[in-house]
């Protein structure tokens, strides 16, 4: 096989206890990660309409050829796929992703991925030590929180050898390791089959969206532990080292005495040690920590006694930090860390908590939720911002007590159970953008985010085109790092194969244009391949505008194939990778279609069409700056207060479907489109189900 691959994928059937392998070569055309996961799911799940908690659901946990190598901002990502329980109203085939060292360790153990099928009779965990794979009794592990479970498994695997050499093979140099096993586990909320349950690895790494913790629970699978003592074959080690050193010129490592003030616009540049953790507790500082081989180190380890939350770094803090700060007169205290820790240990999806708490507070203020109210709860709203409130909410959520019985099912289903869904998604106090996922970036302003979510399966969570990073400069009185005209030129160069400068036009006309269809298509194809299949981290790539790059040009287009080819020995071009991304995107589309997806379902929740901003005294005058093309020139402009035009969104969908080679009436791919992508077998299956585009 090409470099980077280990050649086999571990297949575990929890029902039959059979352990077998799949040949990686069969799926190599998809690159790795997501692409392989989708193809394996397609092959192993004949009935795509099964529910998330059906034992027939197959979960893939995939590495990439670049996992466990020195590729910066890439080596540590692991892709998780299968039918998730979070999607609403349909439990869509979906994905999640987490960082750390799991994928690299999996490769060191000799595996390009892990496929989980069936359902164990009783709670188990999977114990992988190189080729030695056992399904272990989870007595004493089941019931533990995510941190305790990992510690218990470390004890069981390494016994008294923690910190010393563990022998897991016979070879002198490749049969032993000092590393702890990498453990992926769910918490108590996963054991009780919550649709809001995440998978957690080490500290601060989580596959939050999708409800895969609950899917693990449905399979009676508490955790997967992997320990490996091998290595990853590199086709051209010198080329890989050269590429890594080359990339330093695009990051602070190459400019230690010249820290750019424009780092925030290039996620690759953003330096370690600067991580505020979305607001540090006053007087405290954490130590940067990162994923395998990453130059960024974007998470934080706090000192003992800080309150917990070691290793978190993003929305895991955001769910409670503003409430905690407000309750303390604007001062962030360690209680923020403790609240984050509660969530991580329980294994709850942070986005659900973040949006859920705002919604519950709104309902409380409206007199709908509280003691003796329509939504009857003893949740202590008067303690909002204190640790006691966070504890009470999470306790109810995990144990399905009080309103936790409904929240456990996710916000959309809770809203339906309380008779609030239509009203609250219309007013926007429950901002579920699409498919039951809370709004992350606003579909009315940063439209490519919303479109990607609407046409896919989940909140895309891909930060390539967030103009807010430019806006963050504006609110501080700074100027954006480059003029809008230069930005359009750079993007036109980078966004191969379309190379259309109008793709970034977010004006009121531009958001419904064919150029916007190209941007969304480019984004879908790029992320499906480069981010989710090869593992280039969303927190480092794509690299478009880079303050250290030649004439502000970042690495994207050149960097991705440079690293891929050095590791694999192939000679793939960036454009060829984009075509693989298109293929994966179409394969995913076919799975969604077999689950029931059609064009008519792809509409946003009501507030996106009717509410120009959240009701109240607000204008959003500055923060929604975007790049627009007006009166013959590009400019940065506020698009505050915009709503989406329902008819124009529908017209845009027609443009998008036509661009993708899909039936414009149904949104289903045509045989011609699938055939050109080498997906004739997919076309056959769609045709058999009368769901092939005409």
């Amino acid at each position: 096989m090409a470099g980077g691959y280990k050649g086999k994928i571990l297949r575990i059937n929890l029902t039959t206890k059979e352990v077998s392998t799949l040949d990686t070569a069969k799926y190599e055309e998809y690159g790795g990660g997501h692409g392989m996961g989708s193809a394996i799911f397609w092959d192993l799940v004949p009935d795509k309409t099964i529910k998330a908690y059906d034992p027939g659901n197959v979960i893939t946990i995939m590495a990439s050829p670049l996992s466990g190598t020195l590729v910066p901002g890439c080596s540590g990502r692991t892709e998780v796929q299968g039918i998730g329980s979070q999607g609403y109203p349909v439990e869509w085939f979906t994905r999640s992703n987490f960082g750390g060292r799991f994928s690299g360790t999996m490769k060191f153990a000799g595996w390009d991925g892990i496929v989980i099928e069936g359902k164990a009779e009783k709670p188990v965990w999977v114990d992988i030590r190189n080729d030695n794979v056992k399904i272990q009794d989870a007595t004493g592990v089941w019931g533990l929180d995510t941190q305790e479970a990992q510690e218990e498994i470390w004890r069981r695997v390494q016994s008294d050898t923690i910190g010393n050499w563990s022998s897991i093979g016979s070879a002198r140099d490749s049969g032993r390791t000092t590393q702890r096993p990498a453990v992926l586990t769910m918490g108590p909320v996963g054991e009780s089959l919550s649709r809001t349950a995440a998978l957690i690895h080490d500290s601060g790494n989580g596959a939050g969206q999708g409800g895969f913790g609950g899917v693990f629970g449905s399979k009676n699978l508490k955790a997967i532990s992997v320990m490996g003592s091998g290595s990853v074959p590199i086709a051209d080690p010198k080329a890989l080292m050269d590429a890594r050193l080359w990339s330093y010129q695009y990051g602070v490592a190459g400019h230690p005495d010249d820290l750019s003030s424009a780092g925030a616009v290039s996620m690759f540049v953003n330096p370690p040690g600067n991580q505020a953790g979305s607001g540090k507790p006053v007087g405290m500082s954490g130590i940067p920590m990162g994923c395998m081989a990453c130059h960024r180190n974007c998470r934080l380890r706090w000192p003992d006694g800080a309150g917990g939350s070691n290793g978190s770094g993003c929305v895991d803090y955001l769910w409670y930090n503003s409430h905690e700060k407000a309750a303390n007169g604007g001062v962030q205290t360690p209680a923020m860390l403790a609240a984050t820790d509660l969530m991580q240990r329980a294994g709850i999806n942070a986005y659900m908590l973040e949006a859920g708490i705002l919604w519950l507070v709104a309902l409380n203020k409206l007199g709908i939720c509280g003691p003796g109210k329509q939504i009857d709860t003893d949740l202590p709203f008067d303690q909002l911002g204190q640790l006691s409130f966070a504890k009470a909410l999470i306790d109810k959520w995990v144990n399905k007590k009080d309103i936790g019985a409904q929240l456990h099912e996710g916000l959309a289903r809770a809203a339906v159970a309380w008779g609030r869904y239509d009203e609250d998604t219309a007013s926007g106090i429950l901002p579920l953008q699409a498919w039951g996922y809370p709004q992350h970036y606003d579909a009315r302003t940063e439209v490519e985010w919303g479109y990607g979510t609407l046409l896919g399966d989940r909140d895309i969570n891909e930060h390539d085109f967030n103009w807010m990073r430019w806006t963050m400069a504006a609110v501080n009185g700074g100027t954006p790092p480059c003029s809008p005209q230069v930005l359009s030129e750079i993007m036109a160069e980078k966004l191969t194969p379309y190379n259309d400068p109008m793709m970034i036009d977010h004006s009121d006309e531009g958001i419904y244009s064919e150029s916007m269809a190209k941007l969304v298509a480019w984004h879908r194809h790029y992320t499906r391949y480069y981010k989710q299949s090869l593992g280039f981290c969303d927190w480092a790539w794509g690299d478009y505008v880079n303050p250290y790059g030649p004439e502000l040009r970042g690495m994207t287009g050149e960097g991705e194939p440079k690293f891929f080819n050095a590791v694999t020995g192939k000679s793939q071009t960036f454009a060829e990778g984009m075509e693989i991304g298109r293929k994966i995107w179409n394969l995913d589309r076919a799975i969604l279609i077999l689950q029931g997806r059609n064009r008519d379902m792809e509409v946003y929740t009501e507030y996106n069409y009717t509410q120009p901003a959240v009701p109240g005294y607000t204008t959003y005058e500055v923060p929604y700056g975007a790049v627009v093309f007006e009166n013959g020139e590009f400019k940065y402009k506020s698009v505050a207060g915009r709503i989406l035009d329902r008819a124009k969104v529908e017209e845009w969908k027609t443009k998008f479907f036509a661009l993708e080679g899909w039936d414009t009436k149904t949104g289903w791919p045509t045989r011609d489109t699938l055939s050109k992508l080498g997906l004739d077998h997919v076309a056959d299956e769609l045709e058999k189900n009368k769901k092939l585009g005409g």
């Binding site: 780092g263 505020a276 990073r469 501080n476 005294y617 005058e621 500055v622």
Partner: protein, 130 residues
């Protein structure tokens, strides 16, 4: 520092220290590069003070984790005038905004102004209780 606002009446102080309820809330925007712009309802002057936050330009541009607690100053002034019915405070907010500077420059002076008002209100209410 000498007070720049006249002492509020006990009635005004009580109103300023109260909760306006959901329908009359002010909405702030918690901005974080990775987390997105998240609208946050604010129901009291104290919550507003706790919410307003911004670092310096260098930090914001270097650190993708930096957060901003953003409230449009004009919207804040309107809310203070119409909901809290404190015209003097609203005018003082607008004076700071009128300097024409960016949010980063005016946010903390406005926050200090609100803090001063809260301090005044607490003193008035304690005095009234006696």
């Amino acid at each position: 520092m000498a007070a720049i606002l006249s002492e509020p009446t006990p009635e005004l102080a009580a109103r300023l220290m109260g909760d306006v309820g959901f329908e009359k809330r002010l909405t702030g925007l918690k901005m974080a590069s990775m987390g997105g712009p998240n609208p946050c309802p604010l129901h009291s002057l104290a919550e507003v003070v706790g919410f307003i936050h911004i670092g310096d330009y260098e930090t914001a541009m270097r650190d993708m984790h930096a957060t901003v607690g953003y409230i449009d100053p004009s919207a804040l002034a309107r809310w203070v005038a119409e909901v809290l019915e404190d015209e003097e405070l609203a005018t003082a907010i607008l004076e700071r905004e009128a300097a024409g500077e960016n949010y980063g420059a005016v946010a903390m002076p406005i926050k200090e102004l609100l803090l001063e008002r809260i301090t005044q209100c607490r003193a008035v209410l304690v005095s009234a209780e006696r």
